[in-house]
């Protein structure tokens, strides 16, 4: 059986496409974002509220960051943020498809069972600037890449079926025909063979 294009793609690419482009996923993520980020955030430092001007500015930037965070929660179960210093130190989520993650068992004596291992493939992000806050418990099995594993599998199956249907429709459009040849072994008369030879 011929392998479809979607089956050959890396899982991470499909996962990113699923999160960014699939209408159902986008609708659900937006729904949760709208529900959670409806109001503003009150920030207090040592019991004192921030000045309204600073608070408003931070709120605007934090809302963008948190919107990305919500997607990250469902993608890899942790919110990853880095610290970038311009005038104000601000958090940013790692951009999708610029990093990969895995889990590995911790060494003995560290007190932890397992920990995340993040590899940044693109971008100038230092390892020490990456911070992890897991939303779900750590996923240890290697074959489970994401909490969305079941949805991912269904999405890939759906894509594969869709591609198969498209290929068969295209094949049909080219008006394929079946050529059959019948031969009666009981009636191989000289005239019959002569007739076939003439036509050939």
């Amino acid at each position: 059986m011929q392998t479809t294009a979607s089956a050959k793609r890396p899982v991470m690419d499909v996962l990113n496409e699923l999160l960014c482009c699939d209408p159902d996923i986008v609708v659900c993520a937006n729904h949760i974002s709208n529900a959670c980020l409806h109001g503003s955030w009150d920030l207090e430092e040592h019991g004192h509220t921030l000045k309204p001007s600073i608070r408003e500015r931070l709120n605007t930037l934090y809302n963008v960051f948190l919107r990305d965070c919500i997607r990250m929660i469902y993608l890899c179960s942790f919110a990853t943020y880095i610290r970038r210093v311009y005038k104000i130190p601000m958090p940013f989520s790692l951009t999708l498809s610029t990093f990969t993650w895995s889990t590995r068992l911790s060494e003995k004596g560290t007190g932890a069972i397992a920990q995340y291992n993040i590899n940044v493939s693109n971008g100038n992000v230092k390892r020490k600037d990456i911070h992890i806050m897991p939303y779900y418990s750590l996923i240890v099995p290697e074959h489970i890449k994401t909490p969305m594993q079941a949805i991912l599998s269904q999405y890939m199956a759906l894509q594969e079926m869709h591609e198969t249907i498209c290929v068969s429709n295209k094949w049909k459009q080219e008006k394929h025909v079946v050529v059959t040849e019948t031969m009666d072994v009981k009636d191989q008369t000289t005239s019959g063979l002569q007739l076939l030879d003439d036509v050939r």
């Binding site: 996923i25 920030l43 929660i73 269904q154 249907i165 025909v177 003439d198 036509v199």
Partner: protein
């Protein structure tokens, strides 16, 4: 004399034909081929061969089932009610899902508060315990429609300020 009386098969260009099969082939090629039209080729098959054009492909409803299953899985995973199924759902089911949505929203909001607290602490080098973050917004999941507000108003749960807020909230919905 005998030779002149024999009728020979000839085509329209007065070319001799040996037999009727050759005449058929000549006629077919003259009518449909002959290099006049590009992309058309003629093939003459022996009598014992047949050509069958494939019938239309009919698909089952497996893809529809798979698609529906996928939709349901996505909305269940995110704890969001599928808007296309709201009409079919009865009132009690809608309320139950709304409660689940509300709890889900609260959970995520609490987590985001912790994330912001940690982010602020690291960004500005402030001890974590000195930072307090709260969200002062009302989650949308608590009030779905005007009926909910009406029930709250009938139960005299809304103060005048709350009514203004509710009106403002419905304007933003």
């Amino acid at each position: 004399m005998m030779h002149d009386n024999v009728l020979r098969l000839k085509n329209r260009y007065n070319k001799d034909l040996r037999n009727t099969n050759e005449a058929k082939l000549e006629w077919i090629q003259d009518q449909f081929g002959g290099g006049h039209t590009q992309g058309i080729a003629t093939h003459v098959l022996p009598p014992n061969m047949g050509v069958i054009k494939l019938s239309n492909i009919t698909y089952g409803n497996e893809d529809e089932i798979l698609k529906q299953h996928y939709h349901d899985s996505v909305y269940t995973f995110f704890g969001v009610q599928n808007q296309s199924n709201v009409q079919a759902a009865n009132k009690s089911t809608t309320e139950l899902i709304s409660l689940a949505q509300h709890q889900n929203t609260q959970n995520v909001t609490c987590f985001l508060e912790q994330v912001l607290q940690s982010v602020y602490s690291i960004s500005f080098d402030v001890p974590l315990e000195a930072v307090r973050v709260t969200n002062n917004g009302t989650p949308h999941a608590t009030i779905n429609n005007t009926d909910d507000i009406k029930h709250m108003a009938d139960a005299e749960l809304l103060a005048p300020q709350d009514k203004k807020k509710a009106r403002k909230l419905m304007d933003t919905l």
